[in-house]
Symmetry: C2
Subunit: 275 residues, 2 copies
């Protein structure tokens, strides 16, 4: 392709933005644009500046044989705060209370506009670690897990409530469901995760942690390792959770009158500073 500098800059920005967390070798661009390495390096410096000024992410250079440049999408802290305030305000709308003292949240959980931003926050925590799969359990958390997998540029694994024929051979484990305490079984396809993989567990909701612990146990059965766990909302039950190392964006507490109130989990901001 015969592009001049401003066209190359637009094109490089587009390519990197379309493939978050994917490493592109400089050769890829020198061949695509039939340009010298030095020109492409200068182009990338300009693209870095643009992404930086727009506070839309970070372009990092990885040195060495398998090195290149990759785009880590992220959000400015003000944008994260605005998103979390918006989420909390929405969740606190009185019209959302549904029987069982639950908060209706499907409009958030099924809206790519929100999911994309939430997934970006999750991916930001782990962008510098090596994650091989995002794992979740059916059903409500799947869209969020999908967007997180996309942001991290890795595949998804989904644990299921039933053993389905389309999964091929599965591994099943019993777990105590946090919301009911009842013993249940979850299954995952044996083929869905390669041995010795690093797993990020993602779900929409954390109560007692029984389901998350169950997924962790499945990961161990699949000879792999849990690197982290991320939840959109966490219920403050007053009791200790069955898992200890996790991130959540919103905490829901019950007042003495039994009313649920959502508030921002400020750990998000400390967590982001550490990364």
């Amino acid at each position: 392709m015969n592009f001049n500098r401003k066209e190359r800059i637009g094109a490089i920005t587009k390519i990197l933005a379309d493939h978050p967390n994917k490493i592109f070798k400089l050769n890829y661009f020198t061949e695509l644009f039939d340009s010298a390495k030095s020109s492409i390096s200068e182009d990338i410096d300009i693209v870095k500046g643009i992404i930086d000024s727009l506070k839309m992410g970070e372009i990092i250079t990885i040195v060495g044989a398998s090195g290149g440049v990759k785009y880590i999408p992220h959000l400015h802290v003000d944008e994260i705060r605005a998103l979390l305030e918006d989420l909390v305000n929405k969740l606190n709308e009185p019209s959302r209370v549904i029987p069982g003292d639950l908060i209706y949240a499907l409009d958030i959980l099924y809206d790519p506009k929100y999911l994309k931003k939430i997934a970006k926050i999750f991916s930001l925590y782990y962008a510098k670690e090596s994650i091989d799969y995002v794992m979740t359990i059916e059903t409500k958390g799947i869209p969020l897990a999908t967007m997180t997998a996309e942001a991290l540029n890795v595949p998804l694994a989904i644990a299921r409530d039933e053993n389905k024929v389309t999964e091929g051979a599965t591994i099943g484990i019993n777990y105590a469901s946090g919301s009911t305490g009842r013993l249940r079984t979850m299954y995952v396809s044996k083929k869905s995760i390669k041995d010795y993989s690093n797993i990020l567990i993602v779900d929409d909701f954390l109560r007692g942690g029984g389901t998350a612990k169950g997924m962790g146990d499945l990961v161990v059965e699949l000879k792999s390792k849990v690197i982290g766990m991320c939840f959109l909302t966490e219920i403050d039950t007053g009791k200790e959770k069955m898992i200890s190392d996790y991130n959540s964006l919103v905490k829901i507490t019950k007042t003495e009158e039994g009313k649920s109130i959502a508030r921002i989990n400020n750990d998000v901001f400390t967590q982001l500073e550490t990364n």
Copy 2:
């Protein structure tokens, strides 16, 4: 922000690429960059040229009061063919045959790398129509439906096998499951779709069409309209389907020996030319 032309071009490309199918008014950019309308118009023309040369999509200008520019992501026909050949070759791998003469496909259905491209094809069919929601049924098709919803910049609605408390009030309908012929029930939250919406139904798999017809019936119950149906794979059962107007990318036929063979559905290319 004080950007020069090449920086504005990189930035506009990034913003449009990050928000497929979203209409941006020119004002948005004139304010963001504190630039004259004429400069921004010229920038956009250059961005159009870049996206066009890279064969990555189309930037269209919508005139009128609610007008502006929007980016329709798409794939070049050669890239679509390469994707479909890759999918078909993968599906025909002998190691994929699982009991019940099924083909294991979760690695494809749960990989954002494939899903993003498949979703782009689906969104391309409907980019010029007005879709309000993408609808699917749990579980395997949810990641694909999520990526399609993202590509079309609309929310998702998910029908479920059981009536869950977190859904609030639901509407349920009975349907004959195509794979078993058994009568089953599916539920969708009443709040998940606004009245008089346009719905695109997406699923990973089409056999008899009973499930898809069931979703269509749910849409009608929700006072809305099905605009289209898209499936990744379609089983050629030799019998007429219970639905008539749909798109699929891959057809699976059984040989006389009972072996399943996947091949590209060439209708994809005619369909894309019509759009």
